[in-house]
């Protein structure tokens, strides 16, 4: 679960990390009141999107009065911000964060992240913070230093002072950076985070370290022991997730919307990725990524199949299933049968060709289930054959759709 900046800051503040005063608002009128309430002379107005590189792509504005802050907020709310870190369509701004501006004499960078390769958390630091840190680190990798952390009881230990020294800090700044890194590491364990990133981290003239921006990702698998964060997720999901992706999640299905016309249903993430590759290599364009988890029941699968059918862009549906020990093919066949039986194919126009390849556990039985439930489909003996068929059908479908449109105009 990725959190918004304002949520991340609220959580990090509980671990002793200094943050600027700020309020989250949903309208420019509220932005005006928020800025007036904060006092001070300069404000930062920040689009709340859960992706990085926001400042360089118009998501952060400065204002020198509450009135300008309100105008800037109005300009951000309802806009889509596209950065290299957002999905293709960008991210919609529903909230802006109005903050007092902080004068920094230096912008640092601090993070704790899980390093998959070593299986340990790493603390990262740099004396050169800012949105373009990745580009600068590419030219000079030494500007970002890291230390491995060891997890003990409820803390993560490491040589934080050594890390602060390696980025060139000394004296009081070194001591406060070491303390901040320790606090981040503690928050990392306590919150079951997979990433905490403070960038930039302002060093002020008075020697204070203030987190100007914060990114926090929580491990979804650990939410069972964080009732408060779970509630936050439910709230955020309702408010801003793609409703189709969300419904799929609730039915043990990973679904990601794509822009093509071939609906794809696969069990398992690896096979699903490989299937998308096959579809693209065969000249087709997938309409979605779908991975049916092993925990999905036939009713869940029926809902998933319906999500594909309900996508008006879909011109053929490819089912590629390899039954394993946890989820035999017949469970999936039954799910498709239920979806069809309930009349989810509502109009003749949605008579989409369904191409099915099933192999592995209970594949034979699954074919019987499909026959018994009367699901009209094209059965293929290998995934590649099915992929090619699905691509051909999608092309044929779109040309007949086009010709009927042309006929109507004429």
């Amino acid at each position: 679960m990725d959190l918004h900046e304002f949520q991340a800051k609220e959580l990090l503040e509980r671990f002793g990390i200094d943050i600027p005063g700020g309020r989250v608002v949903e309208s420019s009128a509220d932005a005006l009141r928020a800025a007036e309430g904060l006092g001070g002379r300069r404000f930062v107005v920040k689009a709340q999107i859960r992706a990085g590189d926001r400042a360089r792509h118009g998501g952060v504005r400065f204002a020198d009065s509450p009135r300008t802050a309100a105008v800037e907020a109005g300009g951000l709310l309802g806009r889509r911000i596209v950065t290299p870190q957002t999905p293709e369509g960008g991210a919609l701004v529903k909230w802006v964060y109005v903050e007092e501006a902080v004068e920094a004499i230096q912008q640092l960078y601090a993070a704790v992240v899980l390093d998959r390769g070593s299986g340990r958390p790493l603390a990262l630091a740099s004396a050169h913070g800012g949105d373009d840190i990745e580009d600068r680190a590419e030219r000079d990798p030494a500007i970002v230093q890291s230390i491995p952390l060891t997890v003990r009881d409820n803390a993560a230990d490491g040589d934080f002072a050594g890390l602060a020294g390696r980025i060139g800090l000394s004296g009081a700044a070194l001591a406060s950076a070491a303390q901040l890194l320790r606090q981040l590491a503690q928050a990392f364990i306590a919150l079951d985070a997979s990433l905490i990133e403070v960038n930039p981290l302002a060093l002020t003239a008075s020697g204070r370290l203030i987190a100007l921006d914060a990114k926090l990702s929580i491990d979804d698998n650990a939410l069972f022991r964080h009732a408060d964060l779970r509630a936050l997720r439910d709230y955020m999901e309702r408010d801003e997730s793609d409703p189709v992706e969300l419904e799929a999640q609730h039915h043990q299905i990973n679904y990601i919307r794509m822009t093509g016309d071939i609906g794809v249903l696969v069990n398992g993430a690896g096979l699903a990725l490989a299937t998308l590759d096959m579809v693209c290599d065969a000249g087709g364009r997938p309409a979605n990524f779908m991975d049916i988890r092993t925990t999905a029941t036939s009713l869940d699968i029926a809902r998933g199949f319906r999500l594909i059918l309900d996508n008006p862009a879909v011109r053929s549906i490819l089912v590629n299933v390899h039954g394993g020990g946890m989820q035999p093919c017949d469970t999936i066949a039954e799910g498709i049968g239920i979806a069809m039986r309930r009349g989810y194919l509502r109009t003749p126009a949605r008579d989409v060709p369904i191409i099915i390849s099933m192999a592995g556990n209970h594949a034979e039985f699954a074919r019987t289930v499909l026959a018994n439930t009367g699901v009209p489909h094209i059965a293929c003996s290998t995934p590649w054959e099915a992929v090619q068929k699905a691509v051909t059908c999608a092309r044929a479908e779109s040309s007949s759709w086009l010709s009927s449109l042309v006929a109507k105009r004429a």
Binding site: A111, L195, D219, G270, D277
Partner: protein
């Protein structure tokens, strides 16, 4: 013999009395796996599936001489179960549990350091040595005893590749699912080392996907070991949808880019044959073996 398991492997199942575990332990017994007992805290002294149940792994090891454990414990207790097995000196631990918290896996990895345990998983379909033993939840219908070692990050894709290898008339020495989680035990690189040293394995298939650094580490191991056995790799996710990224820290870890293309490049550079697509792994392996045999028969 295969890798990781053999006829001498004596298996206990942690969490055996659960519903799913009962189902799968029965399948494994039918396959001929030597399962010698189970562990469920609080149920010690009972019998289940005609096998003894113990309260702790240490008791089970003392009573049965078990040297392998299949962990079938819910995610909130899976890490504790793995650590218990590691501390009891179990040589092979296979964890099939999905959704184990990341920090818990960090603790498990720390417990593994300096231990004599090899951990497979979590979120793994397990290890299958066709005709010898099944330690996991995979389908076994299309697996045949043979000379191809398969190491994979994805369960369902493995089933598909196993079927292709069998259709190509080759069969498998062993299939290993290293698991789909970011932090896991055995790596693809370690599988390469094991298959390279195994005299029953004639060729290897590595099944990777986007994210993580398993494929890069495997490429390093291959460059170092220079196995004389042909290796075919498939990296899934060349056309995966673009996802949201949070900040820059990921770019500063060992993971770096981790795109399908960068993985394919390093594997190619290590001399691995890249399967252009999931459907031609079997043929490619058959061709590679044929030319390897020819060049062995007719040295230049």
């Amino acid at each position: 013999m295969a890798i990781l398991v053999g006829r001498e492997t004596r298996v206990i199942c942690q969490g055996m009395t659960g519903r799913a575990a009962t189902f799968h332990v029965r399948r494994m017994l039918n396959y001929g796996t030597r399962i010698v007992g189970g562990v469920t805290p609080g149920k010690g002294g009972r019998r289940h599936l005609d096998l003894p149940v113990f309260d702790t792994v240490a008791e089970a090891v003392a009573a049965t001489g078990a040297n392998a454990s299949l962990v079938f414990v819910p995610p909130d207790r899976a890490a504790a179960a793995m650590i218990e097995a590691i501390r009891a000196g179990i040589a092979l631990v296979v964890c099939v549990t999905e959704r184990v918290p990341l920090i818990d896996m960090v603790r498990v990895r720390q417990a593994l350091d300096g231990s004599r345990t090899r951990l497979v998983g979590p979120n793994s379909q397990g290890v299958l040595a066709p005709g010898v033993a099944q330690l996991g939840v995979m389908a076994t219908t299309s697996a045949r005893k043979g000379g191809i070692g398969i190491a994979s990050r994805s369960a369902s894709l493995t089933s598909e590749i196993v079927a292709q290898i069998t259709r190509a008339g080759l069969g498998q020495s062993a299939t290993v699912g290293v698991g789909g989680d970011p932090v896991h035990g055995l790596t693809l690189a370690q599988c390469v080392e094991l298959f390279d040293a195994d005299n029953e394995t004639e060729g290897m298939v590595l099944i990777g996907e986007i994210g993580g650094s398993d494929e890069e580490q495997a490429a390093e191991a291959i460059t170092r070991l220079r196995p004389r056995k042909p290796i075919v790799a498939l990296v899934a996710g060349r056309h995966a949808p673009r996802l949201r990224r949070m900040g820059h820290a990921g770019a500063f870890t060992s993971e770096r880019a981790g795109s399908a293309h960068s993985k394919i490049e390093v594997l190619l550079a290590a001399g691995v044959l890249i399967a252009p697509n999931a459907h031609n792994v079997g043929e490619l392996m058959r061709e590679a073996l044929r030319s390897a045999r020819n060049s062995a028969a007719h040295p230049i």
